[in-house]
Symmetry: C2
Subunit: 280 residues, 2 copies
Protein backbone atom coordinates (compact mmCIF):
# COMPACT_ATOMS: atom_id res chain seq x y z
CA UNK A 1 0.00 0.00 0.00
CA UNK A 2 1.63 3.22 -1.21
CA UNK A 3 1.15 6.44 0.71
CA UNK A 4 -0.78 8.89 -1.47
CA UNK A 5 0.43 12.37 -2.29
CA UNK A 6 -0.96 14.69 0.35
CA UNK A 7 -2.64 17.67 -1.34
CA UNK A 8 -1.65 20.23 1.24
CA UNK A 9 -4.14 23.09 1.23
CA UNK A 10 -2.06 25.13 3.62
CA UNK A 11 0.87 25.06 1.22
CA UNK A 12 -1.32 26.02 -1.75
CA UNK A 13 -2.92 28.75 0.30
CA UNK A 14 0.43 30.16 1.44
CA UNK A 15 1.64 30.30 -2.14
CA UNK A 16 -1.46 32.25 -3.17
CA UNK A 17 -1.19 34.60 -0.19
CA UNK A 18 2.49 35.33 -0.85
CA UNK A 19 1.52 36.60 -4.29
CA UNK A 20 -1.42 38.54 -2.90
CA UNK A 21 0.75 40.26 -0.27
CA UNK A 22 2.76 41.92 -3.04
CA UNK A 23 -0.36 43.01 -4.85
CA UNK A 24 -1.89 44.42 -1.65
CA UNK A 25 1.32 46.41 -1.03
CA UNK A 26 1.15 47.82 -4.56
CA UNK A 27 -2.49 48.83 -3.99
CA UNK A 28 -1.62 50.37 -0.61
CA UNK A 29 1.01 52.51 -2.34
CA UNK A 30 -1.78 53.89 -4.51
CA UNK A 31 -3.75 54.67 -1.36
CA UNK A 32 -6.13 51.74 -1.80
CA UNK A 33 -6.87 49.08 0.80
CA UNK A 34 -8.68 46.07 -0.66
CA UNK A 35 -11.83 45.73 1.39
CA UNK A 36 -14.19 42.81 1.85
CA UNK A 37 -17.59 43.45 3.39
CA UNK A 38 -18.97 40.41 5.21
CA UNK A 39 -22.64 40.19 6.11
CA UNK A 40 -23.69 37.87 8.90
CA UNK A 41 -27.42 37.56 9.53
CA UNK A 42 -28.44 35.89 12.78
CA UNK A 43 -26.47 34.10 15.42
CA UNK A 44 -25.37 30.78 13.99
CA UNK A 45 -22.09 30.07 15.83
CA UNK A 46 -20.38 28.23 12.93
CA UNK A 47 -21.28 31.04 10.56
CA UNK A 48 -19.89 33.55 13.05
CA UNK A 49 -16.66 31.54 13.20
CA UNK A 50 -16.36 31.40 9.42
CA UNK A 51 -16.91 35.13 9.10
CA UNK A 52 -14.31 35.80 11.81
CA UNK A 53 -11.78 33.54 10.05
CA UNK A 54 -12.33 35.38 6.79
CA UNK A 55 -11.94 38.75 8.51
CA UNK A 56 -8.73 37.65 10.21
CA UNK A 57 -7.33 36.36 6.93
CA UNK A 58 -8.01 39.79 5.39
CA UNK A 59 -6.27 41.64 8.22
CA UNK A 60 -3.17 39.42 8.09
CA UNK A 61 -2.73 40.39 4.44
CA UNK A 62 -3.15 44.12 5.10
CA UNK A 63 -6.67 44.10 3.69
CA UNK A 64 -9.70 45.59 5.30
CA UNK A 65 -12.74 43.63 6.40
CA UNK A 66 -15.94 45.46 7.05
CA UNK A 67 -18.18 43.37 9.25
CA UNK A 68 -21.92 43.86 9.02
CA UNK A 69 -24.01 41.95 11.56
CA UNK A 70 -27.76 41.86 11.24
CA UNK A 71 -30.30 40.40 13.66
CA UNK A 72 -31.98 37.04 13.16
CA UNK A 73 -35.33 38.69 12.40
CA UNK A 74 -33.92 40.69 9.44
CA UNK A 75 -36.29 40.80 6.46
CA UNK A 76 -35.34 40.23 2.85
CA UNK A 77 -35.99 43.92 2.15
CA UNK A 78 -33.65 45.03 4.93
CA UNK A 79 -30.94 42.71 3.72
CA UNK A 80 -31.36 43.86 0.11
CA UNK A 81 -31.10 47.49 1.24
CA UNK A 82 -27.83 46.73 3.08
CA UNK A 83 -26.41 44.95 0.05
CA UNK A 84 -27.44 47.87 -2.16
CA UNK A 85 -25.54 50.28 0.10
CA UNK A 86 -22.44 48.11 -0.13
CA UNK A 87 -22.80 47.91 -3.92
CA UNK A 88 -22.67 51.70 -4.01
CA UNK A 89 -19.88 52.08 -1.44
CA UNK A 90 -16.69 52.76 -3.40
CA UNK A 91 -14.50 51.75 -0.46
CA UNK A 92 -15.89 48.20 -0.59
CA UNK A 93 -14.47 45.92 -3.31
CA UNK A 94 -16.02 42.59 -2.44
CA UNK A 95 -19.22 41.49 -0.70
CA UNK A 96 -19.71 38.19 1.07
CA UNK A 97 -23.10 37.15 2.39
CA UNK A 98 -22.52 34.29 4.81
CA UNK A 99 -24.65 31.26 4.01
CA UNK A 100 -27.10 30.12 5.40
CA UNK A 101 -29.38 33.06 6.14
CA UNK A 102 -32.45 32.75 8.41
CA UNK A 103 -35.32 31.01 6.68
CA UNK A 104 -37.62 34.01 6.29
CA UNK A 105 -35.08 35.55 3.91
CA UNK A 106 -35.12 34.93 0.16
CA UNK A 107 -31.50 33.82 -0.06
CA UNK A 108 -31.41 33.68 -3.86
CA UNK A 109 -32.74 37.24 -4.12
CA UNK A 110 -30.13 38.36 -1.59
CA UNK A 111 -27.26 36.66 -3.43
CA UNK A 112 -28.46 38.09 -6.73
CA UNK A 113 -28.62 41.60 -5.28
CA UNK A 114 -24.81 41.57 -5.01
CA UNK A 115 -23.31 43.57 -7.88
CA UNK A 116 -21.53 41.17 -10.24
CA UNK A 117 -18.30 43.20 -10.03
CA UNK A 118 -18.27 42.73 -6.23
CA UNK A 119 -19.44 39.09 -6.21
CA UNK A 120 -16.04 37.81 -5.01
CA UNK A 121 -17.63 34.75 -3.40
CA UNK A 122 -19.17 33.70 -6.71
CA UNK A 123 -22.74 33.27 -5.50
CA UNK A 124 -24.83 35.18 -8.03
CA UNK A 125 -26.90 33.43 -10.67
CA UNK A 126 -25.17 35.40 -13.41
CA UNK A 127 -21.74 34.60 -11.96
CA UNK A 128 -22.55 30.89 -12.04
CA UNK A 129 -23.35 31.06 -15.74
CA UNK A 130 -20.27 33.13 -16.58
CA UNK A 131 -18.28 30.43 -14.83
CA UNK A 132 -20.13 27.67 -16.66
CA UNK A 133 -19.36 29.47 -19.93
CA UNK A 134 -15.74 29.90 -18.86
CA UNK A 135 -15.52 33.66 -18.58
CA UNK A 136 -16.30 34.40 -14.93
CA UNK A 137 -14.11 36.88 -13.11
CA UNK A 138 -15.04 35.33 -9.77
CA UNK A 139 -15.97 31.64 -9.78
CA UNK A 140 -17.40 30.28 -6.53
CA UNK A 141 -14.53 30.00 -4.06
CA UNK A 142 -14.65 26.31 -3.15
CA UNK A 143 -14.74 25.14 -6.78
CA UNK A 144 -11.96 27.62 -7.57
CA UNK A 145 -9.98 26.18 -4.65
CA UNK A 146 -10.39 22.64 -5.97
CA UNK A 147 -9.11 23.70 -9.39
CA UNK A 148 -6.21 25.59 -7.77
CA UNK A 149 -5.16 22.48 -5.83
CA UNK A 150 -5.28 20.30 -8.95
CA UNK A 151 -3.19 22.88 -10.78
CA UNK A 152 -0.70 23.45 -7.95
CA UNK A 153 0.11 19.74 -7.95
CA UNK A 154 0.02 19.52 -11.75
CA UNK A 155 -2.62 16.84 -11.70
CA UNK A 156 -4.03 16.26 -15.18
CA UNK A 157 -7.70 17.07 -15.80
CA UNK A 158 -8.14 16.81 -19.58
CA UNK A 159 -9.60 13.50 -20.68
CA UNK A 160 -10.01 12.33 -17.08
CA UNK A 161 -13.33 11.11 -15.73
CA UNK A 162 -14.36 13.30 -12.80
CA UNK A 163 -17.23 12.22 -10.57
CA UNK A 164 -18.72 15.02 -8.49
CA UNK A 165 -20.93 13.95 -5.60
CA UNK A 166 -23.19 16.90 -4.86
CA UNK A 167 -25.07 19.42 -6.99
CA UNK A 168 -25.40 22.61 -4.95
CA UNK A 169 -25.36 26.00 -6.73
CA UNK A 170 -22.06 27.07 -5.18
CA UNK A 171 -20.20 23.78 -5.17
CA UNK A 172 -21.36 20.71 -7.07
CA UNK A 173 -22.76 22.48 -10.11
CA UNK A 174 -19.98 25.05 -10.60
CA UNK A 175 -17.11 22.60 -9.99
CA UNK A 176 -18.70 20.28 -12.54
CA UNK A 177 -18.74 23.07 -15.09
CA UNK A 178 -15.12 24.06 -14.31
CA UNK A 179 -13.89 20.48 -14.69
CA UNK A 180 -15.89 20.18 -17.91
CA UNK A 181 -14.36 23.40 -19.25
CA UNK A 182 -10.94 21.90 -18.57
CA UNK A 183 -11.92 18.93 -20.74
CA UNK A 184 -12.72 16.38 -18.08
CA UNK A 185 -15.65 14.05 -18.68
CA UNK A 186 -17.91 14.83 -15.74
CA UNK A 187 -20.52 12.74 -13.94
CA UNK A 188 -22.71 14.57 -11.42
CA UNK A 189 -24.14 12.39 -8.65
CA UNK A 190 -26.43 13.35 -5.78
CA UNK A 191 -28.83 12.05 -3.17
CA UNK A 192 -31.12 10.47 -5.77
CA UNK A 193 -28.36 8.71 -7.67
CA UNK A 194 -28.85 4.96 -7.98
CA UNK A 195 -25.68 2.92 -7.58
CA UNK A 196 -23.57 5.79 -6.32
CA UNK A 197 -20.75 3.44 -5.42
CA UNK A 198 -20.56 2.11 -8.99
CA UNK A 199 -20.26 5.66 -10.33
CA UNK A 200 -17.58 6.76 -7.86
CA UNK A 201 -15.61 3.58 -8.57
CA UNK A 202 -15.06 4.71 -12.14
CA UNK A 203 -13.66 8.12 -11.27
CA UNK A 204 -10.14 9.28 -11.99
CA UNK A 205 -11.00 12.40 -9.97
CA UNK A 206 -13.52 12.32 -7.11
CA UNK A 207 -14.97 15.54 -5.73
CA UNK A 208 -16.89 15.00 -2.51
CA UNK A 209 -19.37 17.80 -1.88
CA UNK A 210 -22.14 16.10 0.01
CA UNK A 211 -22.00 17.60 3.49
CA UNK A 212 -22.25 14.21 5.21
CA UNK A 213 -19.40 12.99 7.41
CA UNK A 214 -17.27 10.17 5.98
CA UNK A 215 -19.96 9.39 3.42
CA UNK A 216 -17.56 8.33 0.65
CA UNK A 217 -16.00 5.00 1.56
CA UNK A 218 -12.47 3.84 0.86
CA UNK A 219 -13.56 0.85 -1.20
CA UNK A 220 -15.40 3.19 -3.58
CA UNK A 221 -12.12 4.74 -4.70
CA UNK A 222 -10.46 3.34 -7.82
CA UNK A 223 -6.79 2.62 -7.14
CA UNK A 224 -4.81 5.67 -8.24
CA UNK A 225 -7.72 8.12 -8.21
CA UNK A 226 -7.35 11.71 -7.01
CA UNK A 227 -9.70 12.56 -4.13
CA UNK A 228 -10.77 16.12 -3.31
CA UNK A 229 -12.84 16.42 -0.19
CA UNK A 230 -14.77 19.67 0.02
CA UNK A 231 -16.75 18.56 3.04
CA UNK A 232 -16.31 19.94 6.50
CA UNK A 233 -18.49 18.35 9.13
CA UNK A 234 -18.74 18.34 12.89
CA UNK A 235 -15.78 16.71 14.56
CA UNK A 236 -13.38 18.08 11.92
CA UNK A 237 -14.14 15.33 9.44
CA UNK A 238 -14.72 15.56 5.73
CA UNK A 239 -17.17 13.85 3.40
CA UNK A 240 -14.67 11.06 2.76
CA UNK A 241 -13.50 8.32 5.07
CA UNK A 242 -9.95 9.64 4.95
CA UNK A 243 -7.99 6.56 5.94
CA UNK A 244 -10.00 4.28 3.70
CA UNK A 245 -9.81 6.63 0.70
CA UNK A 246 -6.11 7.35 1.26
CA UNK A 247 -5.42 3.63 1.00
CA UNK A 248 -6.59 3.65 -2.63
CA UNK A 249 -5.98 7.21 -3.81
CA UNK A 250 -2.85 8.44 -5.57
CA UNK A 251 -3.47 11.91 -4.12
CA UNK A 252 -5.90 13.22 -1.51
CA UNK A 253 -6.80 16.39 0.37
CA UNK A 254 -6.87 16.10 4.16
CA UNK A 255 -9.66 17.60 6.30
CA UNK A 256 -8.85 20.01 7.83
CA UNK A 257 -5.99 21.56 5.88
CA UNK A 258 -7.16 20.66 2.39
CA UNK A 259 -9.80 22.49 0.37
CA UNK A 260 -10.82 24.78 3.28
CA UNK A 261 -7.78 27.06 3.54
CA UNK A 262 -7.54 27.42 -0.24
CA UNK A 263 -11.20 28.47 -0.35
CA UNK A 264 -10.45 31.39 1.96
CA UNK A 265 -7.41 32.31 -0.13
CA UNK A 266 -9.54 32.34 -3.29
CA UNK A 267 -11.91 34.76 -1.54
CA UNK A 268 -8.96 37.03 -0.70
CA UNK A 269 -7.62 36.71 -4.23
CA UNK A 270 -10.96 37.66 -5.76
CA UNK A 271 -11.19 40.66 -3.43
CA UNK A 272 -7.72 41.84 -4.48
CA UNK A 273 -8.66 41.22 -8.12
CA UNK A 274 -11.77 43.34 -7.58
CA UNK A 275 -9.81 46.13 -5.88
CA UNK A 276 -7.44 46.22 -8.86
CA UNK A 277 -10.25 46.13 -11.41
CA UNK A 278 -12.30 48.77 -9.63
CA UNK A 279 -9.20 51.03 -9.36
CA UNK A 280 -7.39 50.50 -12.65
Amino acid sequence: MKTPLLLDGVEVSNRIKADLAKRVTALNEKGITPSLATILVGEDPSSATYVRMKGNACHKLGMESKKIEMPTETTTEELLATIQQLNEDHTVHGILLQHPVPEQIDERAAFDAIAIEKDVDGVTTLGFAQNAFNFAQYPSCTPAAIMAILDHYDLPIEGKHAVVVGRSPILGKPVSMMLLNRNATVTICHSRTSELEAHVKQADIVVAAVGRPEFIKGEWIKPGAVVLDAGYNKGNVGDCDYDGCAANASAITPVPGGVGPVTISMLLKHTVDAAERLNP
Copy 2:
Protein backbone atom coordinates in the same frame (compact mmCIF):
# COMPACT_ATOMS: atom_id res chain seq x y z
CA MET B 1 -35.38 -7.72 -31.92
CA LYS B 2 -38.21 -5.59 -30.60
CA THR B 3 -39.23 -2.44 -32.40
CA PRO B 4 -38.55 0.54 -30.15
CA LEU B 5 -41.16 3.11 -29.21
CA LEU B 6 -40.96 5.89 -31.76
CA LEU B 7 -40.76 9.25 -29.98
CA ASP B 8 -42.80 11.19 -32.49
CA GLY B 9 -41.83 14.85 -32.35
CA VAL B 10 -44.61 15.84 -34.71
CA GLU B 11 -47.20 14.39 -32.33
CA VAL B 12 -45.65 16.14 -29.31
CA SER B 13 -45.42 19.35 -31.27
CA ASN B 14 -49.04 19.17 -32.39
CA ARG B 15 -50.18 18.65 -28.82
CA ILE B 16 -48.25 21.75 -27.71
CA LYS B 17 -49.57 23.82 -30.63
CA ALA B 18 -53.17 22.81 -29.97
CA ASP B 19 -52.84 24.29 -26.48
CA LEU B 20 -51.07 27.37 -27.80
CA ALA B 21 -53.78 28.01 -30.39
CA LYS B 22 -56.31 28.54 -27.59
CA ARG B 23 -53.98 30.85 -25.72
CA VAL B 24 -53.26 32.87 -28.86
CA THR B 25 -57.01 33.25 -29.45
CA ALA B 26 -57.46 34.49 -25.88
CA LEU B 27 -54.66 37.02 -26.38
CA ASN B 28 -56.12 38.11 -29.72
CA GLU B 29 -59.41 38.82 -27.96
CA LYS B 30 -57.52 41.21 -25.72
CA GLY B 31 -56.10 42.90 -28.82
CA ILE B 32 -52.67 41.30 -28.45
CA THR B 33 -50.86 39.33 -31.12
CA PRO B 34 -47.89 37.39 -29.73
CA SER B 35 -44.93 38.55 -31.75
CA LEU B 36 -41.53 36.99 -32.28
CA ALA B 37 -38.77 39.11 -33.77
CA THR B 38 -36.20 37.07 -35.68
CA ILE B 39 -32.81 38.53 -36.55
CA LEU B 40 -30.84 36.99 -39.38
CA VAL B 41 -27.37 38.39 -39.99
CA GLY B 42 -25.74 37.44 -43.27
CA GLU B 43 -26.72 35.05 -46.01
CA ASP B 44 -26.22 31.54 -44.68
CA PRO B 45 -28.85 29.52 -46.58
CA SER B 46 -29.56 27.02 -43.75
CA SER B 47 -29.99 29.87 -41.29
CA ALA B 48 -32.36 31.58 -43.71
CA THR B 49 -34.35 28.34 -43.96
CA TYR B 50 -34.55 27.97 -40.17
CA VAL B 51 -35.72 31.55 -39.76
CA ARG B 52 -38.35 31.07 -42.45
CA MET B 53 -39.59 27.87 -40.78
CA LYS B 54 -39.92 29.67 -37.47
CA GLY B 55 -41.75 32.56 -39.08
CA ASN B 56 -44.16 30.21 -40.85
CA ALA B 57 -44.83 28.35 -37.62
CA CYS B 58 -45.75 31.66 -35.98
CA HIS B 59 -48.13 32.63 -38.78
CA LYS B 60 -49.90 29.28 -38.73
CA LEU B 61 -50.75 29.84 -35.08
CA GLY B 62 -52.01 33.38 -35.61
CA MET B 63 -48.86 34.87 -34.16
CA GLU B 64 -46.78 37.60 -35.70
CA SER B 65 -43.20 37.22 -36.84
CA LYS B 66 -41.16 40.32 -37.38
CA LYS B 67 -38.22 39.52 -39.64
CA ILE B 68 -35.09 41.60 -39.34
CA GLU B 69 -32.39 40.89 -41.92
CA MET B 70 -28.97 42.46 -41.56
CA PRO B 71 -26.05 42.36 -44.00
CA THR B 72 -23.04 40.05 -43.57
CA GLU B 73 -20.78 42.99 -42.73
CA THR B 74 -22.92 44.07 -39.74
CA THR B 75 -20.85 45.14 -36.75
CA THR B 76 -21.42 44.07 -33.15
CA GLU B 77 -22.47 47.64 -32.32
CA GLU B 78 -25.07 47.70 -35.09
CA LEU B 79 -26.48 44.37 -34.00
CA LEU B 80 -26.58 45.47 -30.34
CA ALA B 81 -28.44 48.63 -31.36
CA THR B 82 -31.03 46.58 -33.26
CA ILE B 83 -31.50 44.25 -30.29
CA GLN B 84 -31.87 47.25 -27.98
CA GLN B 85 -34.65 48.66 -30.20
CA LEU B 86 -36.46 45.32 -30.06
CA ASN B 87 -36.04 45.17 -26.27
CA GLU B 88 -37.83 48.51 -26.07
CA ASP B 89 -40.50 47.70 -28.66
CA HIS B 90 -43.65 46.84 -26.71
CA THR B 91 -45.19 45.08 -29.70
CA VAL B 92 -42.37 42.49 -29.65
CA HIS B 93 -42.63 39.73 -27.03
CA GLY B 94 -39.77 37.46 -27.97
CA ILE B 95 -36.42 37.95 -29.73
CA LEU B 96 -34.53 35.27 -31.60
CA LEU B 97 -31.03 35.88 -32.92
CA GLN B 98 -30.30 33.15 -35.44
CA HIS B 99 -27.04 31.36 -34.71
CA PRO B 100 -24.33 31.45 -36.10
CA VAL B 101 -23.59 35.12 -36.73
CA PRO B 102 -20.71 36.27 -38.99
CA GLU B 103 -17.37 35.92 -37.25
CA GLN B 104 -16.62 39.62 -36.74
CA ILE B 105 -19.58 39.81 -34.36
CA ASP B 106 -19.24 39.14 -30.64
CA GLU B 107 -22.01 36.55 -30.50
CA ARG B 108 -22.01 36.24 -26.70
CA ALA B 109 -22.40 40.01 -26.32
CA ALA B 110 -25.25 39.94 -28.82
CA PHE B 111 -27.06 37.08 -27.07
CA ASP B 112 -26.62 38.79 -23.71
CA ALA B 113 -28.03 42.05 -25.06
CA ILE B 114 -31.42 40.36 -25.37
CA ALA B 115 -33.65 41.39 -22.45
CA ILE B 116 -34.16 38.37 -20.19
CA GLU B 117 -37.95 38.78 -20.36
CA LYS B 118 -37.80 38.47 -24.18
CA ASP B 119 -35.15 35.71 -24.30
CA VAL B 120 -37.63 33.12 -25.56
CA ASP B 121 -34.85 31.14 -27.25
CA GLY B 122 -32.98 30.76 -23.95
CA VAL B 123 -29.60 31.98 -25.15
CA THR B 124 -28.56 34.55 -22.55
CA THR B 125 -25.92 33.80 -19.94
CA LEU B 126 -28.33 34.71 -17.17
CA GLY B 127 -31.06 32.54 -18.66
CA PHE B 128 -28.69 29.57 -18.69
CA ALA B 129 -28.02 29.96 -14.97
CA GLN B 130 -31.68 30.43 -14.11
CA ASN B 131 -32.30 27.17 -15.96
CA ALA B 132 -29.39 25.46 -14.19
CA PHE B 133 -30.86 26.64 -10.88
CA ASN B 134 -34.30 25.46 -11.98
CA PHE B 135 -36.17 28.74 -12.12
CA ALA B 136 -35.83 29.85 -15.75
CA GLN B 137 -38.89 31.17 -17.51
CA TYR B 138 -37.39 30.30 -20.90
CA PRO B 139 -34.94 27.39 -21.00
CA SER B 140 -33.07 26.92 -24.27
CA CYS B 141 -35.53 25.48 -26.77
CA THR B 142 -33.80 22.25 -27.79
CA PRO B 143 -33.18 21.12 -24.20
CA ALA B 144 -36.76 22.09 -23.37
CA ALA B 145 -37.92 20.01 -26.35
CA ILE B 146 -35.97 16.99 -25.12
CA MET B 147 -37.57 17.26 -21.70
CA ALA B 148 -41.02 17.72 -23.28
CA ILE B 149 -40.59 14.54 -25.32
CA LEU B 150 -39.52 12.54 -22.26
CA ASP B 151 -42.53 13.87 -20.37
CA HIS B 152 -45.01 13.37 -23.20
CA TYR B 153 -44.09 9.68 -23.34
CA ASP B 154 -43.90 9.42 -19.53
CA LEU B 155 -40.34 8.17 -19.65
CA PRO B 156 -38.81 8.16 -16.18
CA ILE B 157 -35.88 10.48 -15.50
CA GLU B 158 -35.33 10.34 -11.73
CA GLY B 159 -32.56 7.99 -10.72
CA LYS B 160 -31.69 7.23 -14.34
CA HIS B 161 -28.19 7.64 -15.72
CA ALA B 162 -28.25 10.16 -18.56
CA VAL B 163 -25.22 10.53 -20.80
CA VAL B 164 -25.13 13.76 -22.78
CA VAL B 165 -22.71 13.88 -25.68
CA GLY B 166 -21.95 17.54 -26.31
CA ARG B 167 -21.39 20.56 -24.09
CA SER B 168 -22.54 23.63 -26.00
CA PRO B 169 -24.04 26.59 -24.12
CA ILE B 170 -27.48 26.14 -25.69
CA LEU B 171 -27.70 22.36 -25.80
CA GLY B 172 -25.28 20.07 -23.98
CA LYS B 173 -24.80 22.18 -20.88
CA PRO B 174 -28.42 23.22 -20.33
CA VAL B 175 -29.92 19.79 -21.06
CA SER B 176 -27.45 18.32 -18.56
CA MET B 177 -28.64 20.76 -15.91
CA MET B 178 -32.31 20.08 -16.71
CA LEU B 179 -31.84 16.32 -16.45
CA LEU B 180 -29.90 16.83 -13.21
CA ASN B 181 -32.68 19.00 -11.81
CA ARG B 182 -35.08 16.16 -12.56
CA ASN B 183 -32.88 13.87 -10.47
CA ALA B 184 -31.05 12.02 -13.20
CA THR B 185 -27.39 11.20 -12.63
CA VAL B 186 -25.73 12.99 -15.54
CA THR B 187 -22.48 12.34 -17.39
CA ILE B 188 -21.35 15.02 -19.83
CA CYS B 189 -19.12 13.80 -22.66
CA HIS B 190 -17.49 15.77 -25.48
CA SER B 191 -14.79 15.75 -28.12
CA ARG B 192 -12.02 15.27 -25.54
CA THR B 193 -13.71 12.40 -23.73
CA SER B 194 -11.62 9.24 -23.53
CA GLU B 195 -13.56 6.03 -24.01
CA LEU B 196 -16.72 7.71 -25.21
CA GLU B 197 -18.22 4.38 -26.20
CA ALA B 198 -17.77 3.00 -22.66
CA HIS B 199 -19.60 6.00 -21.22
CA VAL B 200 -22.50 5.87 -23.67
CA LYS B 201 -22.86 2.13 -23.09
CA GLN B 202 -23.82 2.79 -19.48
CA ALA B 203 -26.58 5.26 -20.26
CA ASP B 204 -30.26 4.72 -19.53
CA ILE B 205 -30.89 7.95 -21.45
CA VAL B 206 -28.61 9.08 -24.29
CA VAL B 207 -28.74 12.66 -25.56
CA ALA B 208 -26.80 13.13 -28.78
CA ALA B 209 -25.84 16.76 -29.29
CA VAL B 210 -22.60 16.52 -31.21
CA GLY B 211 -23.39 17.91 -34.63
CA ARG B 212 -21.69 15.03 -36.46
CA PRO B 213 -23.71 12.75 -38.75
CA GLU B 214 -24.35 9.25 -37.42
CA PHE B 215 -21.59 9.64 -34.87
CA ILE B 216 -23.27 7.54 -32.14
CA LYS B 217 -23.21 3.90 -33.14
CA GLY B 218 -25.85 1.26 -32.52
CA GLU B 219 -23.53 -1.00 -30.55
CA TRP B 220 -22.91 1.84 -28.06
CA ILE B 221 -26.53 1.74 -26.94
CA LYS B 222 -27.36 -0.33 -23.89
CA PRO B 223 -30.34 -2.58 -24.61
CA GLY B 224 -33.47 -0.75 -23.45
CA ALA B 225 -31.95 2.72 -23.37
CA VAL B 226 -33.87 5.82 -24.46
CA VAL B 227 -32.16 7.70 -27.30
CA LEU B 228 -32.79 11.39 -28.00
CA ASP B 229 -31.07 12.68 -31.10
CA ALA B 230 -30.79 16.46 -31.18
CA GLY B 231 -28.53 16.41 -34.23
CA TYR B 232 -29.56 17.58 -37.63
CA ASN B 233 -26.92 17.19 -40.28
CA LYS B 234 -26.71 17.42 -44.04
CA GLY B 235 -28.66 14.70 -45.79
CA ASN B 236 -31.40 14.80 -43.14
CA VAL B 237 -29.49 12.58 -40.74
CA GLY B 238 -29.04 12.94 -37.02
CA ASP B 239 -26.07 12.40 -34.72
CA CYS B 240 -27.09 8.78 -34.20
CA ASP B 241 -26.93 5.87 -36.59
CA TYR B 242 -30.71 5.50 -36.46
CA ASP B 243 -31.09 1.88 -37.56
CA GLY B 244 -28.27 0.67 -35.37
CA CYS B 245 -29.47 2.58 -32.31
CA ALA B 246 -33.12 1.62 -32.89
CA ALA B 247 -32.07 -2.04 -32.75
CA ASN B 248 -31.02 -1.62 -29.09
CA ALA B 249 -33.12 1.29 -27.81
CA SER B 250 -36.45 0.94 -26.05
CA ALA B 251 -37.45 4.37 -27.37
CA ILE B 252 -35.87 6.70 -29.93
CA THR B 253 -36.47 9.99 -31.70
CA PRO B 254 -36.30 9.90 -35.49
CA VAL B 255 -34.49 12.52 -37.56
CA PRO B 256 -36.27 14.39 -39.03
CA GLY B 257 -39.52 14.45 -37.05
CA GLY B 258 -38.05 14.06 -33.57
CA VAL B 259 -36.48 16.79 -31.47
CA GLY B 260 -36.59 19.39 -34.28
CA PRO B 261 -40.34 20.08 -34.52
CA VAL B 262 -40.68 20.19 -30.73
CA THR B 263 -37.85 22.74 -30.56
CA ILE B 264 -39.84 25.09 -32.78
CA SER B 265 -42.96 24.51 -30.69
CA MET B 266 -41.05 25.39 -27.53
CA LEU B 267 -39.99 28.65 -29.16
CA LEU B 268 -43.64 29.40 -29.97
CA LYS B 269 -44.69 28.41 -26.46
CA HIS B 270 -42.12 30.70 -24.88
CA THR B 271 -43.24 33.56 -27.11
CA VAL B 272 -46.88 33.06 -26.06
CA ASP B 273 -45.73 32.80 -22.42
CA ALA B 274 -43.89 36.10 -22.87
CA ALA B 275 -46.88 37.79 -24.51
CA GLU B 276 -49.03 36.71 -21.54
CA ARG B 277 -46.46 37.81 -18.96
CA LEU B 278 -45.80 41.12 -20.66
CA ASN B 279 -49.57 41.78 -20.89
CA PRO B 280 -50.94 40.43 -17.62
